[in-house]
């Protein structure tokens, strides 16, 4: 098996996260792995650039767990400020393929994984500023 190639933040930021969600959520397998690997980092970079804090993602994950992905996609401001439209796009894409609480749980876990990578970026930056 060949070794996958490293990718820079700028390359990862180009990934289409809506597509990754639509293909990665329905079934386990390589698309799911990409969604929870490179897709998580791509989302964290995108949101970091928009000034989102990790806690906002964790909170959104709780909303997804409580009300479902479709409910969260209908929120006026799922993430604060300019990240609202981005998050709504992701949630709308996820809602197309998620049909039940098990799927909502997966979406919530993906948001929490994004929060974890975002937290790593934030703490690294704080430690080196």
């Amino acid at each position: 098996m060949s070794t996958p190639q490293p990718q820079s933040d700028s390359q990862l930021a180009e990934l289409d996260i809506e597509i990754l969600l639509r293909f990665g959520l329905p079934n386990p397998g390589p698309h799911r792995s990409t969604l929870f690997g490179d897709g998580v980092v791509a989302a964290a970079i995108t949101l970091d650039r928009l000034g989102v804090m990790p806690r906002a993602l964790v909170f959104l994950g709780e909303v997804v767990r409580s009300g479902g992905t479709r409910f969260a996609a209908g929120l006026p401001e799922p993430l604060p400020g300019p990240a609202a439209d981005v998050a709504r796009g992701w949630l709308t894409a996820a809602a197309m393929v998620v049909q039940d609480p098990t799927g909502d749980q997966l979406v919530a876990r993906w948001l929490e994984a994004v929060a974890a990578v975002l937290a790593l970026r934030v703490t690294h930056r704080e430690a080196n500023s």
Binding site: M1, T3, P4, Q5, P6, Q7, S8, D9, L12, S33, F36, G37, D38, V40, V41, M53, P54, R55, A56, L57, V58, F59, L60, E62, V63, R65, S66, G67, G68, F71, A72, L75, P76, E77, P78, L79, P80, A84, D100, P101, T102, D104, Q105, L106, R109, W110, E112, A113, A115, A116, V117, L118, A119, L120, R121, V122, T123, H124, R125, E126
Partner: protein
């Protein structure tokens, strides 16, 4: 109620029987409805039972229940706005920057009765020190606050009771930001690193990235760095380095402390991982 039904289908037979028993013991249709709503919000039987233990004494008082569990009232004149608050204290964010939008906090309170009840009562219904308007507003503001330590709410619900004090969590910067629970696993030997791989792979498969500490240097000139394991494929681990890239390292390099490829020559050794729970 569709979601409640879906969660009910996922319950074990024992929990289903206990939940039916809980519903049968309610004092009113309102109390019963809030328990069903808690189920629809994804709470476990134990969480719902503990919630009911706190509201059951007032189960025949719909006004008491509504005030504390459904504090969000859509205004009749405009479905676009929601008047939210508790005991005269209006929940509004003013002009402050927020971490979580006020409308999103309100939305969660609408769909999760346990969350709403925590906001209004602090988990201490009938205790005037907690169950009052200004205290509820303070709790609501904390939810929107950009500097609020996430752990304080994420770990309130312990052993079936609200507990502000039950936070025995290692000081961890990532956990401080996300509220996620981790336990440190020292990996200071070949065998420990080898043995940890299976659990790391399992966490990754569950969708939980694993924070990783690497180090090197000397006692007088130590170097340390934190990264995150985000994937695995075959015998390769995918690692995100906050210097700005993802990189793949072999499990052999991980086990044998040849980690400089993931960062640089200053950090060849694995120190520990923080295993997500």
């Amino acid at each position: 109620m569709t979601r409640a039904g879906q969660f009910m289908d996922k319950m074990s037979d024992a929990d289903r029987a206990r939940f039916d028993q809980l519903l049968a013991g309610t004092k009113s249709a309102e109390e019963r409805a809030y328990l069903m709503k808690a189920l629809a919000a994804g709470h476990s039987y134990d969480e719902i039972k503990a919630f009911d233990d706190q509201i059951h004494a007032h189960g025949d008082d719909p006004r008491w229940l509504t005030e504390r569990i459904a504090p969000v009232q859509l205004e009749a004149v405009s479905a676009q706005t929601a008047g939210t608050g508790y005991k005269g204290a209006s929940w509004d964010q003013g002009q402050h920057d927020t971490c979580v939008a006020a409308s999103t906090v309100t939305a969660r309170a609408m769909v999760d009765p346990l969350f709403a009840f925590q906001l209004t009562t602090g988990g201490h219904p009938d205790d005037p020190a907690y169950d009052n308007g200004p205290a509820s507003k303070e709790r609501w503001e904390k939810e929107t606050n950009p500097v609020y330590d996430t752990r304080s709410f994420m770990h309130l619900w312990k052993g079936g009771m609200w507990d502000w004090e039950s936070q025995n969590i290692a000081d961890d910067e990532i956990a401080k930001h996300t509220g996620a629970e981790y336990h440190d696993v020292d990996l200071d030997s070949h065998d420990k690193r080898q043995n940890a791989l299976a659990e790391i792979d399992q966490k990754i498969d569950e969708g939980k990235p694993v924070p990783l500490s690497v180090h090197g240097g000397t006692l007088l000139n130590p170097h340390g760095h934190q990264m995150m394991i985000i994937g695995h494929r075959g015998d390769q681990l995918e690692i995100y380095n906050p210097w700005g890239y993802t990189v793949w390292v072999s499990e052999s390099d991980f086990v044998n402390n040849h980690m400089q490829g993931a960062s640089d020559d200053r950090h060849p050794e694995v120190r520990s991982v923080r295993m997500p729970k």
